[in-house]
Symmetry: C2
Subunit: 420 residues, 2 copies
């Protein structure tokens, strides 16, 4: 993989130019993307031209290539949201997150494949670790592109589990920041209480570096050794949905963290959080139906069958159920805040297991829905395997304490690597 | 003015057809809009065709004409956001609120004038009560169109004071619901923590009826007499910015409400709310800079001078100041929630006074910023005058208790009318 921090170090040392970094990506894309299908549009020539601008040297990303999930508007590249309804669409403006990446010195080299409207119908992307397995979704192309060394940094988005799950399946670091740390303006909305801008990179320190630059926050974790965190293992009520390999991965990660000096305890979450898990479905369905109401009313036949059927059902969610679900979420956020006051991070699966075989589904977000609704920072920590497929464990932090979550994730990542 | 409830009653009684309602609007627009300038695009022929669809009879708005502020995307009408950058732009989809209005049986008859990007540079709209005075903004066209009987219902949006202030200046009912009662998906974003979909109509019961239909919530207040509310007069720390006439209007409204049976007390708000008022500027500036970053970076010369200068300054707001402002807002919302547990509504000015003379500014949102940031429902109650110009008083409710706020507003509206 292309480590963002390593590329930036080489650029700063004069061993690599931004143009050279673009060529690294271009070569990997030429060699691999026909089989992986991570990109749906490329802007390499524009990136090459921009790479020669001297002002990049003063910008934090230093001209680093960035992939953008095709759910974000881009004025210079086609934007199709994974749907035939938007074939050939070119928005009038870039999404705010894309402008923030450019302003931080990132070069947008292409748009990455998304499931239809970041929901359920898969893109054609394959898992770089095993082409017959799903890369996860909805940010399929971004996770696969980073895993296959086609780009060092890529944007995803998460409404249920669309950043953490594909990061886990593809064996890369994925970061879903606190809700609204990075604005969703100009991103095709799926569910406004849930949609969160996320990022992929090779390792935890890389993704923290990219997030720090783009969000203009103190999020870097590469400048000193991470403090030993207080970690609580949270199995949650969906634990039975996880594979034996994932059960083992959580034990391995917990033991490794403890051996490295972390305080590791077990926690059973209060019942309101299970209620909130169920509320996430209601909120997502109610909002998705309204976010996609225009497409549903005017282009019903161009919506993928599974999504169309799901929207048919979502129409039945009442405003009363939705309002009650929002109140449940609000109470659960307060409870979780109280719970987290005694811990730096929770350790929990990123997904039920390794990437399932087949490309018909992008997998199950059961281990992600609650945290997205709670708005708390989540990090997929890569490094463990189930045979030839990656297994990701998840660090969940406190709302607004994104740096602490990233630091705990780095601690666990290093502890796992030290033990392997 | 065209009362939405009265038009619907006439349609239900067979005295008026939806087509006839469209013609009432078309005639008023033809007679008055050359001098008022409320509309920037009209879709009367499409509305006439849609008016003949029998299915409207089963939909709550019954084919009522609706005006849409030109900050909402519409696939069938040009969408310019008040900016020359978007001249000739036709979005690929309708905003969610527009689809919700259509699904409730509303007919979109045109787009109404907005200040540039719903911010500070005025549209050409004039106040129907006095053409040399501002109609207020940023929802200038929607407020003026309702005041001039050109449409019974119109969408606005509020980020600082863009619904309640123009409603007050134009002498119509304006309703800014609880934050996110109606989705902002497909509305050009100005500041994502603040942007709120609002509505204008002739009177409080009319705007409640429209909101109930569009949001699919129990918000109607026309079916029984409103209960006598517990009202607290909240002068707030910006009281000295209000005119003598406005000071008198608040006394008049308070006495009228008390005479009609309301419990009226005085309240001094906790200091955290004054801090939150100042935080609103920081949050709005930080977010507006990012929402408009693409236009600022690529089309700087096409941004109006005052907005360009303001964005130049907004660039200096740091992420740290912004994050601190958000934490202040969060604490203030909790405090306000505690305060409101003892009251049904606050009574406070809608604006510093009547509409100022001149079209160079849309007036001062000092009496609106705090409530927008708090996310609480606000209603402009019309009925009082300062000479030949309307004076609006504002009812502020508790978050999520929009029905109670509308009921209190109706109570005050009737009390004022009974006293006049």
């Amino acid at each position: 993989m292309l480590s963002a921090l390593e590329l930036v170090r080489r650029i700063e040392a004069g061993e690599l130019t931004p143009r050279g970094a673009v060529e690294l990506c271009a070569e990997a894309i030429a060699a691999k993307d026909e089989s992986i299908g991570a990109f749906v549009a490329l802007g390499l020539d524009r990136a090459r031209r921009e790479a020669d601008e001297p002002r990049l040297a003063a910008m934090p990303l230093r001209g680093l290539p960035v992939g953008v999930k095709d759910i974000y508007d881009t004025a210079d590249l086609p934007t199709q949201y994974g749907s035939p309804i938007y074939a050939g669409y070119r928005p009038p403006a870039d999404a705010a997150a894309v402008v923030m990446a450019r302003r931080a010195g990132g070069l947008i080299i292409g748009k990455t494949a998304t499931t239809e409207f970041a929901y359920m119908v898969p893109a054609r992307t394959r898992n770089p670790h095993h082409l017959e397995h799903t890369p996860g979704g909805s940010s399929s192309g971004s996770a696969a592109a980073v895993a296959a060394a086609m780009v060092p940094v890529a944007f995803g988005s998460q409404t249920a589990g669309s950043v953490i799950r594909p990061a886990a399946f593809c064996g890369v670091a994925g970061f879903k920041p606190s809700y609204r740390l990075i604005p969703t303006v100009g991103m095709k909305c799926l569910a406004w209480h849930l949609d969160t801008v996320g990022l992929f990179a090779a390792g935890v320190a890389d993704v923290a570096f990219a997030a720090a630059a783009i969000a203009d926050r103190d999020l870097r974790v590469d400048r000193s050794a991470p403090a030993a965190p207080r970690i609580a293992v949270a199995r949650t009520h969906v634990w039975p949905e996880a594979s034996a390999a994932m059960h083992g991965a959580i034990e391995t990660a917990a033991r490794a963290a403890q051996a490295a000096g972390a305080t590791v305890t077990e926690i059973e979450l209060p019942g309101i959080l299970e209620e909130a898990y169920r509320a996430q479905f209601i909120i997502m369905d109610y909002e998705a139906f309204r976010s996609l109401a225009f497409e549903y009313d005017r282009y019903r036949d161009k919506i993928g069958g599974p999504l169309r059927d799901h929207l048919d059902k979502s129409a039945a969610v009442s405003a009363g159920e939705y309002d009650a679900a929002r109140r449940t979420a609000s109470r659960a956020r307060q409870t979780l805040g109280d719970v987290m006051s005694a811990h730096d991070a929770l350790l929990t699966p990123s997904a039920p297991g390794a990437a399932p075989r087949g490309l018909g589904s992008t997998g199950n977000p059961a281990f992600n829905r609650l945290w997205t609704l709670m708005g708390v920072p989540c990090v997929n920590v890569p490094g463990l395997m189930d045979g030839d497929l990656p297994l990701g464990v998840q660090i969940v932090g406190s709302f607004g304490r994104d740096h602490a979550a990233l630091e705990a994730a780095l601690f666990v990542e290093r502890a796992i690597a030290a033990k392997a």
